[in-house]
Symmetry: C2
Subunit: 255 residues, 2 copies
């Protein structure tokens, strides 16, 4: 099933996304302009920011009242108590903190800094704002996939990616926080390798590798391209979700 060649292309001309915008529609318009269209087995990787914005997940920081716990944690980390309040509301628990660092288990299960709340690349017309993750990124992907299938008549994969820090390694990498239409976790266990030896423990984070690949074209700063078309991938048909990629806490040796 491994492809010989794949191409990743940044969709052009997407407007700055506003709450209520129909992302599938904006994507379709871009694909029409570019002449790329959509083909069976294409994969679209969308930056978390545009999905969150379209779903109205922007919060005005000025209106947030920090709890006692948030105030305490803000003092310990040197962060804005209102931001910490939002982080705690979005999280199941705090895993690690120190000055400048606050790593939590997000209510979606992701271990990440600041619950993925983003104070950069957000329009500040409302004063300081914070952008939360989509409330159900797998469902967001399924809805966008469904709308694009209706428009283009082909079955595709959709991934929402975000940049996450990691244990042990410097630098963020793109990971999948939502997925639809493809196995986020690709199970190779039990297949023979080149010499017929059984592969004992090979599960591949397929959606994460796609998320990282797309990240290469998204940029981070002044030239963001928040939607990437991946063409040429092949995969076993399965209705996967990004939640497959979350290791349950009780199975994790590093929390």
């Amino acid at each position: 099933m491994t492809p010989r060649s794949i191409r990743l292309t940044a969709l052009s001309g997407l407007p700055l996304v506003q709450p209520g915008d129909d992302l599938a529609q904006l994507i379709s318009e871009s694909l029409e302009r570019d002449g790329a269209g959509l083909q069976e087995d294409d994969i679209l990787v969308l930056a978390q920011k545009i999905v969150s914005k379209s779903e109205g997940r922007k919060v005005r920081v000025a209106g947030v009242e920090p709890s006692a716990q948030a105030t305490e944690m803000a003092a310990l980390t040197g962060k804005d108590p209102r931001l910490v309040e939002l982080v705690l509301r979005e999280s199941r628990c705090v895993l690690r903190f120190r000055p400048g660092v606050l790593i939590v288990e997000h209510r979606l299960g992701f271990v990440m800094a600041n619950a993925g709340i983003d104070l950069s690349n957000v329009d500040h017309a409302d004063g300081e704002t914070a952008l939360l993750l989509p409330s159900d990124p797998d469902a967001s992907c399924a809805a966008i996939r469904s709308a694009l299938r209706a428009r283009w008549g082909c079955d595709i994969g959709v991934i929402i990616n975000d940049s996450h820090g990691r244990a042990w390694r410097n630098g963020t990498v793109g990971v999948a926080i939502g997925a639809a239409g493809l196995p986020a976790l690709h199970d190779l266990r039990g297949r023979p390798d080149l010499f017929g030896r059984e592969l004992l423990s090979t599960e591949v984070g397929l959606a994460d590798e796609l998320a990282s690949a797309a990240s290469l074209l998204m940029g981070q700063a002044d030239e963001g391209c928040p939607a990437i078309l991946v063409r040429g991938m092949r995969w076993e048909r399965r209705e996967g979700q990004a939640r497959e990629l979350i290791r349950p806490a009780q199975m994790d040796l590093f929390r």
Copy 2:
């Protein structure tokens, strides 16, 4: 510097690599056959396995004498004492273990299972064999880059990738264990974002994202493609190394 489009292509017709093989030569022959050649700013991502094989890092398991410590750890993990002996020789310390799992800090600094020692996809003509990581993967990349520059007259990036498990998330992803000719860690700190707000802590694991992207085309089992050409990337010229990606133990909150 963000590209609009990139293409990843698996090099065809690479033979099974043997100790002493000249990888740059084998790669060049494949590029000639395919008609792809090499262009300025191309990136080659090579699977750890072929680099290790070419450097003669295959060890006959039968000749390994387990130490008392290896024997004890083998009992605790249910692994072959000779494999554990090799793992311990390649490692600075054991970080976690339980039945079936042995996670170490490799002497190169990588936190990984079994010190990256691979018992699959290895020719077993010598009986059971183990394949160790290259002794200095950054140096391997620099040498291959240099040989390819001499042959093709253009400056490229070279990455050696490997599949690593991760904290918190299921599935392995491709990561860079060696790099030359590009910033493995891409520092965006201090640049303004879309709205002029300063990006405070954005370092991107560029070589890891490339390693993951290439991994999508490498396959794991019966159809391995161990060399991937990435065309279209742009990056700031810098002599980077994969060791930039290793977070020093004293900076790591998750060991």
